[in-house]
Amino acid sequence: MNLYVHLPFCDHICFYCDFKRKVSISKKEYIDALYKEFTSLNIDSIDTLYFGGGTPSSLSIDELKQIGNWFIPYLSKDYEWTIECNPDSLTKDKIILFKEMGVNRISLGVQSFQDELLQKIGRHHSSFDVYRCINDLRECDLKNISIDLIYALPNQTLKQVQNDVNIFLSLQLPHCSIYSLQIEENSVFGKQHLKPADQDLEADMYDCICQTLKGYHHYEISSFCLNGYESKHNLVYWSDKDFTGIGWGSSGKEKGIRYDHASNYNDYLLDPLKRYFIETTKEDLMFEAIMMSLRTTFGLNVKQFNEKYKIDFYECYKKTIQKYQNYFIQSKDSLVCTQEGRNILNTILIDFLE
């Protein structure tokens, strides 16, 4: 089983974020509800476990211990357990706890190494906090560290982006996720009607990132890693496999059927077991599989696709594949986008939406 656990608590709200999250609410009520939902699951064993948020590291040691303990008995032999952390709340004590519990992957919300920029996007940590965290994590033998970076931030220059990526390189970390800023309607930036960065500059930044990280495996549009350090949990999303989500606002997919949880916080507390199933046709599911899998260098597994949807993929999408043939690497078993193809994936996907 691949399990996502949503912990929607934050110490403050970052300007770009529109995830389900709350500042200063009673965590006990939520943890009780989450436990109810956890106990309703029919768990055989857990292959990948992901604590996302929110800011899971903003919970107290006791709370983290309480929640973590639910899952420990079910971890499989080769499990991956990731916890999202913020540099300002990831204390040494928490790191020690994570190591004890068996957490083996840390995703650190760095966003940028420029303190001035961090302030402008509503982050409360400094680059110093990041170095401290990485040091502490390594001391506790938690070496599988991924950091998140954001580019195309307001007034950010190409040089600043290059600088951030270079610092990442110098830290010799195994994984990095780099996102261009998306101005979500329900974020602070969205409410401020922030103007997105110039398209050409953004493309230049992306080129620069890819170029600088040449030594890393660029296995997904925004993900770079050293060999063997791909995020197993995220690959589940990108390869059309089932996953379970628990917690307020989380999503899951079981036996090909997708579901959400209540989008209202109190509704979730009242009935944490309630799942809102999303009506999807076979065509929807086929499109979703394509949309997700073309993001990675592994591409779409044609054989798996044909068997699952009882269809001939190449025949079914002949026209679109023909139209963008220069952007694909085709083989009998898989369809993979070239780097150029992945750059304009939206344009290509629109044609798959027939």
Binding site: S180, Y206, S250, S251, D260, M291, R295, N343, L345, I350
Partner: protein
């Protein structure tokens, strides 16, 4: 009801002076519509009208008024459109009345449309009842405005009612004035039938319904009738009135205003301004005032999806029914396929038709930039009237080109006269006259090319006078001009639907502005697209739309699937509304780019 107890009237006003609000209050006061049923501005039935706050289509409502003298009066309130584009329709609906209530904003005073409408009413021999609205505003100056009306229009305002249509203040007095001051219809019920058609609309069950004002005689079901201008003959099926709900009547007699249905299928048969008479005992002459309307502005309308050509044709035919002045005929464009060249009274009229086609008939349309009719004198001595720039003959065959000019009257507060004169000069205007109207305002008269008016004159006028100026114009004739055809090339290919005819001295400037605007509007595609403006094969401006480099969602995990898919679906919808010309996808608004570009 006795003919002497009928009052047929319109309310005329400048935009925003409160015409529709007064109509609403009258409907309430006569219990025609109960307050709780009242949707604000009852007479503006189309969504579009209510949204834009302007009245486009006329409407006629019958109401009964219990006057203070104890007697009942039958009122027909005929609403008129409030925009310069629709002056013929205004004039016909006024012709259906004996009187008009002139509403003037007590703060703003007489405006261009107030004058234009008053002149139309006077042309139709109407008795005019001046009313000052919005007297409850702090800035209201009823006495100053009264004097202004007396000076400018020559109406006696000593007894003008001061009202607030919004609060209902003194609206009852207006009703009494209508009874006392406006004349009853004067026709003869025993004379041969003459009924003025002043509006019509299409009903899918009953065919075309015509709104008429019976000037003489009586109109009943089973009557055999003839439309005197078109010669079409029908048997009347039903007659009735609107209250504003539709009510079927036994007959419409002299002085009454209502609707008739006669299973009329042919749209061309019913024209606003025509006279209906009986086939057997016809009137000797039709009523005065019928005119074939001549459009002044033309543009091409094309369905985005070529397969919907027939739907567009049907929709245009239906619209033409209650929009006598809309003209259309088929045309073909290399870029856009099959469509129609449509003629409109003005820019607003064009806008309204386009929006109604999209909304009421669910069509996705591409409109090309508007054009006037040019008179092209060729070297062989013949003249060709051209309403589509793409159809202009080759330069070597042209001796000279004439374009329509308008006499424009612009009313403007003194402090903006300088700015307005600059604008008129820039738009190739020729100064005619400047009059002082009162302490505040002046009336400027200019001869201007119509093509400049439809280009962006209104917008520019608004911005350089903070919206205080008003413009009225009429065609004054044709003049020779130095005009050239400017082509637009995308990816090296001329897009015929983007060609425009421009004044030679403006060509470089406009070519430049046009290419820059197109660069903004056309989304990046997988290859670089040169955008060029050219005159007779010579490129005068050029820019490039850079190739698309990056178009991808940065983040996409399990919880993002629904959202991201929706985003892509939305983008796909947007793409559907684009036109593939050669290898370039062009959004609809690109074809109107010339109107929205900034030349400064």
């Amino acid at each position: 009801m006795d003919q002497s107890h009928i009052r047929n009237f319109s309310i005329v006003a400048h935009i925003d002076h409160g015409k529709s609000t007064l109509a609403d209050r009258i409907l309430e006061l006569t219990d025609t519509v109960e307050k709780r049923e009242m949707v604000s501005q009852m007479l503006d039935t189309m969504d579009l009208e209510r949204e834009r706050g302007i009245t486009i289509k006329l409407n006629a409502v019958q109401l009964i008024y219990h006057a203070k003298n104890g007697e009942d009066y039958l009122f027909h309130l005929i609403d008129t459109p409030g925009h310069v584009d629709f002056s013929y329709e205004v004039s016909r609906s006024l012709a259906a009345c004996e009187g008009a209530v002139l509403v003037v904003d007590a703060a703003q005073g007489v405006q261009a449309q107030t004058l234009a409408n008053v002149y139309l009413a006077l042309d139709n021999d109407l008795e005019i009842l001046p009313v000052l609205n919005k007297v409850d505003l702090p800035s209201a100056q009823p006495d100053v405005v009264k004097e202004e009306i007396e000076n400018l229009i020559g109406l006696d305002c000593s007894q003008a009612v001061e009202i607030s249509a919004k609060s209902g203040l003194n609206v009852d007095k207006v009703l009494e004035e209508i009874v006392d001051k406006l004349p009853a219809p004067s026709g003869d019920a025993n004379a041969p039938l003459q009924a003025l058609v002043f509006d019509s609309f299409y009903d899918s069950y009953r065919g075309i319904i015509a709104f008429v004002s019976v000037k003489n005689g009586v109109l009943k079901p089973k009557d055999k009738i003839r439309f005197m201008a078109t010669g079409a003959e029908y048997e009347v099926i039903e007659v009735g009135v609107r209250t504003p709900k539709e009510v079927i009547k036994d007959q419409l007699t002299t002085g009454e205003v209502g609707w008739i249905s006669a299973a009329i299928k042919n749209i061309e048969d019913v024209r606003v301004g025509d006279t209906i008479t009986h086939v057997n005992t016809p009137a000797k002459e039709p009523l005065k005032g019928y005119r074939e309307m001549n459009p002044m502005v033309y543009c091409g309308l094309y369905p985005v999806d070529n397969a919907r050509y027939d739907d567009l044709k049907e929709a245009l035919s239906k619209l033409k029914l209650n929009d006598a002045s809309l003209q259309f005929e088929p045309e073909t464009s290399q870029a856009l396929g099959f469509g129609f060249r449509c003629g409109f009274l003005g820019l607003l009229h064009m806008d309204v038709v386009e929006e109604r086609l999209e909304r009421e008939f669910n069509l996705d349309l591409i409109a090309t930039s508007p054009s006037v009719i040019y008179h092209v004198f060729k070297t062989d001595g013949t003249m060709e009237a051209i309403d589509n720039p793409a159809a202009l003959p080759p330069a070597q065959n042209i001796d000279h080109i004439e374009e329509p000019y308008v006499s424009a009257e612009i009313m403007v507060p003194k402090e903006y006269v300088g700015a307005m004169m600059d604008l008129c000069q820039k738009k190739r205007g020729e100064y005619v006259d400047l009059q002082v109207l009162d302490d505040i305002r002046m009336l400027m008269k200019y001869e201007l090319p119509l093509s400049e008016i439809i280009f962006d004159f209104f917008d520019k006028m608004k911005s350089c006078t903070k919206g205080y100026a008003s413009l009225d114009y009429e065609i004054s004739g044709y003049r020779e001009s130095k005009l050239v055809k400017m082509d637009i090339l995308l990816n090296g290919q001329i897009i015929d639907a983007l060609s425009t005819i421009v004044y030679k001295d403006f060509a470089y400037h406009r070519g430049n502005a046009m290419t820059i605007k197109l660069k903004e509007i056309i989304p990046k595609q997988q290859f670089e697209i040169p955008v060029q403006a050219a005159i007779g094969g010579k490129v005068i401006a050029r820019t490039n739309i850079k190739a698309l480099r990056k178009n991808v969602l940065a983040k996409c995990y399990g919880g993002d699937i629904s959202r991201k898919k929706k985003l892509l679906e939305k983008q796909k919808e947007g793409k559907k509304r684009m036109k593939m010309v050669g290898s370039v996808e062009i959004p609809q608004e690109a074809f109107m780019a010339v109107l929205s570009m900034d030349e400064d």
